[in-house]
């Protein structure tokens, strides 16, 4: 039976046998980083194409289907085009911050990818404060947006960055509280332990009513975190140019753009892990086939990503003050009430176990 652990253990032993300890550790770390960069790049390309085709199907069109079979090479072509563009910059822009801003968002996205359990033992970084780590990382991403807006020396970009910053830090509160609601059932913050607890039934089933409310609040707050419609005031195309990334072109713009899609995937991945039982199959039907967990995980994450795309192409945009009203007057009180209900249910052992 081939488990992911046995593959990695084999490589680990081989490396240690042919070079000294420090060098072997270093090579291992570089290999893992390269694997994750590859996942990041491929997932980004794939997600952009999926977004364009799904958007087209909602709008009674056919999406890109010329470049490559059914358009699979379309994003490669766009990436090559972006690579060949001139990296412009405004003359009074703060050069250091202007160049630094995209790297913040990329690095936080990659760090968040590292803790997600794709399947049994396919875990780059399984620390015992997994959920806390994820929430902390998403807070660092705000800095990239604010820096990008400020250093562009452009009034539109600044307005966009300010709006986006205020939106992100408000909605992080809702994400944290709704994830906390589920931690009440599992009792641990470590992501692999959370998946172990879900072998008795997915968490959204175990914590019936409050779990469903927590899931809905999480999806709304997650869409707001990544600045996607209906919360995309920061980059509202029909209002103020392109928001905080107006002045970026070429590869730096590609970074912001890819980071948005990877963030969407991360929000969906966290929801899959905490609510829908990461790589576990429904009713445990295929537990015996190893490495199939990746397929289940990706399927569940893709359904949630599709849901976020459906939101984007149906609803109008909310105004900035309405965004904040939604969070502070509606989502936060509901979240707090929900935690109390969930605590009551766990205390009285009313959860559904299989």
């Amino acid at each position: 039976m081939i488990r992911a652990l046995s593959i990695t253990k084999g490589i680990h032993d081989w490396l240690f046998s042919i070079m000294s300890e420090n060098a072997a550790h270093l090579v291992e770390m570089i290999l893992i980083a390269l694997v994750y960069l590859a996942i990041f790049a491929i997932a980004g390309l794939f997600l952009v194409l999926i977004e364009r085709r799904v958007a087209a199907w909602f709008q009674l069109r056919i999406g890109p289907n010329r470049v490559g079979f059914q358009g699979l090479l379309q994003t490669m072509a766009d990436a090559l085009k972006l690579l060949s563009k001139e990296l412009t910059g405004t003359e009074k822009a703060d050069k250091f911050l202007y160049n630094l801003a995209p790297y913040f968002v990329i690095i936080t996205a990659l760090m968040a990818l590292a803790v997600i359990p794709f399947t049994q033992d396919f875990h780059a970084f399984d620390i015992n404060i997994g959920i806390l780590f994820l929430i902390a990382i998403s807070s660092i991403g705000v800095i990239g947006i604010l820096l990008g807006g400020w250093s562009s020396n452009n009034k539109f970009a600044l307005i966009g960055a300010m709006r986006s910053g205020v939106q992100t830090i408000s909605y992080e509160l809702s994400i944290g509280l709704s994830l906390l609601t589920m931690i009440l059932i599992t009792g641990t913050l470590q992501l692999s332990e959370i998946v172990e607890v879900q072998k008795n039934g997915w968490l959204i089933v175990q914590g019936h009513i409050p779990a469903i409310i927590a899931f809905m609040i999480y999806m709304i707050a997650g869409t707001a975190e990544t600045n996607r419609a209906p919360f995309d005031m920061a980059e509202a195309e029909s209002e103020l140019g392109a928001g905080f990334h107006t002045e970026y072109s070429g590869m730096k713009f590609a970074y912001f753009f890819l980071a948005e899609f990877i963030n969407m995937f991360i929000i969906a991945a966290i929801a899959t892990t905490v609510f829908f039982g990461a790589w576990l199959s429904p009713f445990g039907i295929t537990e015996s086939i190893p490495l199939l967990g990746v397929f289940w995980f990706l399927a569940k994450a893709m359904v949630l990503v599709f849901l976020m795309m459906w939101f984007r192409w149906t609803f109008p945009r909310l105004r900035v003050d309405q965004l904040l009203t939604l969070e502070w007057k509606y989502l936060l009180p509901l979240n707090l009430m929900n935690i109390v209900i969930m605590a009551l249910i766990v205390w009285q052992n009313l959860t559904i176990q299989f």
Partner: protein, 158 residues
Amino acid sequence: MSYFSDIYKGIKTLLTGMSVTGKYFLTSRKGAITQQYPDNRDTLKMFDRFRGEVIMPHDEENRHRCTGCQKCEIACPNGTIEIIWDRGIDEETGKKKKKIDQFVYHLSMCTMCGLCIDVCPTDAIEWGQNFENSVYDRTALTRVLNKPGSKLMPGVED
């Protein structure tokens, strides 16, 4: 309590909106209104009255119906039509008659208003359905509508 009922009503309207787009998503394979243009040139048929460009039909013996009366040149609002004509001796009656040398039509200036075709007394010009008129060189848009060596169809002036 109206707090909760507001939330409920709001969510219900959002879900109805999603059902509309969801329905179009599910029927997207045959409901797409895109016409894959360069591939469907064989089956693409424009309507008869479509205003593509002005053409002068010639019959099998290379004859047209334009008598050179210049009514279309006067009716055109911006000078798209220029008729180069000459007085020649008509073979049958021996009298001097106008005949056209070249019917110059500047496609680049034409607004497709149709006044020239409206006033023509002999139906010499009519609408063609060809809309693929892009060229690399702007002088190719100045067309001469009557074919070389063509003559007037007899019996048109009646």
